[in-house]
Assembly symmetry: C2
Homo-oligomer: 431 residues x 2
């Protein structure tokens, strides 16, 4: 078998066999197949597509390029919840303690933010001391003892994916549905997930801008999950406007903690209940969604979700006084409230513009490895469909640099559109 | 400007600017742009195409990636004749001395064979001592003094093309019309050609299998030539069956020399007259094709073309006794005559199968740098349309290995198809 023949086959829009895909991924992982062949292959896949079967084979080959975590002797079911990424999406930080409090053990490996999209690890690190680099043994130990882990991906899981992703980033081969789907799913499978809840974001602030694209990605990932023998469901949720109010690492961390206290923006609270219900059903802890939802509400009102979060933070070395008193989180030097310029209805809060403005402030990275500023970000007070009056607060900018503050304020103001007519609120979920 | 953005632009089927193409080719040549970006770019070009303007820009950027040979102070016009490659195509070896004998100076740089397609340099090297590695100064000196040079491409011409070609070969990005056209044309331009006659082969033994593909490539190269300010014409000639009778390096060399003596298969003779006439017209030595053709016939009948070839061989260090007595060329150990198995008409002599069988015998290379055997090959006695009787000679195999002989014999026999009905001969030229 020769790598070039596999590239040619894909170039000619033929379906690759499992053996061919395994040969290619194994060769790429161990360095026998050079980057220049892998990038030509990725471009051929991007332009000619892949079938669900090929994508499943690609996913499994990447998952098996390193160690596969086996957690079956620790827990009866391993549920993973994954978001395709968006602006203000701190769902995992709230939902994981919620479901763990309902008796479902969760061990999750998360990623960092890139571009306009935030990352769970960056948000967690705004708690001083919180470690996101647990070893595999520490991961297992904590899952067994505490029933909850929220850490970074260990290096030895799916190394082919890390290598491929870095290459795709610099060769214009990122926006390919099969490559995105396999990249997400191979990590879930390698991390030992037996059940996977996918939260596919759709809209202006998501990688998938249209419902059709989002549906395609969701369906493909569910198909891969099933073909790989994992229970998998996908939700399609809105990412035209930011989720909740907070955008930025500490600000989002605070909002996620406040949710566990029952004090969160309505949309974010509703979103977490819905996701948690799905996780509880898929994890076999609730017989249907309404039972799951009731359990999720209960663990918040009785404080058990918050307590589970304290356990998590303590276990991973974080300072729990921040959980108990969110005013301890580092504040930005400048906080500017921007008011509503005209009365009417909010017709748009462009999530991508807000996300990019957060990167400008220093909350995110333009490229991998860039340092980030945990304190900066925005509080977005209004949602699409809200009736607003001129002069009331529209959003806050938290910045550590005056020039960047001005820039970010102008951007986020331009992200808001107003209408004289009534505007329907955006749905939280599409399907 | 960033390489990844140029790749993305081509991925999105947008037209690149001259600046973008120059930036990419310059970066690739000097190593700033790594192979993995160039291969993703090549795949995007292969799958999404390029306009004539983009292809012209690519050609010029590659031509200018190294030295551009300026021959204007040596000769008034520099005509280059290029064949897109085929089986049994020794045209350059006969045509160059013909047109030089008619007073048109020719300095040509040729390539080696790859895959089923033979190469002029390999054929020339079957004459002991013949040098194909002239320096640029030697090239100029000989062109000035002898009016004829036939050598290999010097390393400093169009280095981007050499680098790109090697990469395309291993990344499945060879069969792209704009990439093929720019690769051919950039070398012609870098070698100083002011007028270019392109012989585009079409058929089973050519890189372009259909007339439509061949026409597209021919038109694109003529467009590039014109956009780059060079006089350019393209001929479309048949390569369904081998050209002439001989296939293999020494055997083709002998046939090319015999042509200069007026003793060659009719199709090959006719082909050479036609190409020579075009070269003479484009080079301004003949006012029209019929005059060019008459000049070409004359230089053969009066022996001046053969004499010019002797001058060439001597100038480049070759043993001219081989030209005077072709029986001196090394013979293969085994020569096997295969007879016609059934009476009827020849309906096919599959050029590609014959070319690949020659590689099996050792006449060609499976990959670059492989050694070759000059003595081995075939003499194909019959042409499509010929009426044949069972038992008369169909072809000869010249081999140095008994096992390979059997294999090649079976292949070439299978390349021949027979019909009971009359079959029209194949045309030599389509357009």
């Amino acid at each position: 078998m020769r790598a070039v023949d596999i590239i040619i086959k894909k170039r000619e829009k033929q379906e690759l066999t499992s053996q061919e895909i395994e040969f290619f991924i194994n060769g790429f992982t161990n360095g026998d197949i050079p980057d220049y062949q892998a990038s030509a292959f990725a471009m051929a896949v991007l332009l000619n597509g892949m079938t669900a079967h090929e994508t499943k084979d690609l996913t499994l080959a990447m998952a098996h390029s390193g160690q596969i975590l086996d957690l079956s002797n620790i827990v009866d079911v391993v549920v993973d919840k994954h978001s395709s990424g968006g602006v203000g999406d701190k769902t995992s930080i709230s939902v994981m303690p919620m479901v763990a409090a309902c008796g479902l053990p969760v061990g999750k490996m998360s990623g960092r933010g890139l571009g306009f999209s935030g990352g769970t690890l960056d948000k967690l690190e705004s708690i001083p001391g919180y470690r996101v680099d647990l070893t595999t043994d520490e991961f297992k130990q904590q899952l067994k003892e505490k029933g909850i882990v929220l850490t970074g991906q260990s290096l030895d899981l799916a190394p082919a994916d890390g290598k491929m992703y870095a290459l795709r980033d610099v060769t214009g081969t990122v926006p390919s549905t099969p490559l995105i789907a396999s990249s997400i799913m191979c990590k879930k499978i390698a991390a030992g997930a037996t059940a996977i809840v996918l939260d596919v974001k759709v809209g202006l602030g998501a990688f998938m801008e249209t419902l059709e694209e989002g549906r395609k990605l969701a369906k493909l990932m569910v198909d891969i999950g099933h073909l790989a023998g994992r229970k998998t469901v996908a939700l399609l949720s809105d990412m035209n406007q930011p989720l909740g109010s907070a955008v930025g690492n500490s600000l989002e961390m605070i909002e996620a903690i406040q949710l566990l206290r029952g004090q969160a923006p309505a949309d974010y609270y509703e979103h977490c209940l819905h996701v948690a219900a799905h996780v509880l059903v898929l994890g076999g802890r609730a017989k249907d969604l309404s039972v799951g939802r009731a359990m999720a509400e209960q663990c918040i009102s009785d404080g058990s979700a918050l307590e589970k979060f304290r356990v998590l933070v303590q276990a991973q070395g974080g300072d729990i006084s921040y959980v108990d008193d969110v005013s301890k989180f580092g504040h930005a030097k400048y906080i500017k409230v921007v008011n509503v310029p005209r009365s009417g209805f909010i017709s748009q809060v462009h999530a991508r513009i807000v996300g990019e403005a957060a990167v400008t402030l220093g909350a995110g990275r333009a490229k991998k490895g860039d340092p980030i500023d945990h304190a900066v970000g925005f509080i977005i007070h209004k949602k699409v469909g809200d009736k607003v009056k001129a002069g009331e607060p529209l959003f806050e900018v938290h910045a550590n640099d005056e020039k960047k503050l001005e820039e970010a304020r102008d951007s986020v103001l331009s992200a808001h559109k107003f209408s004289d007519e009534f505007v329907s609120p955006l749905p939280l979920f599409y399907e």
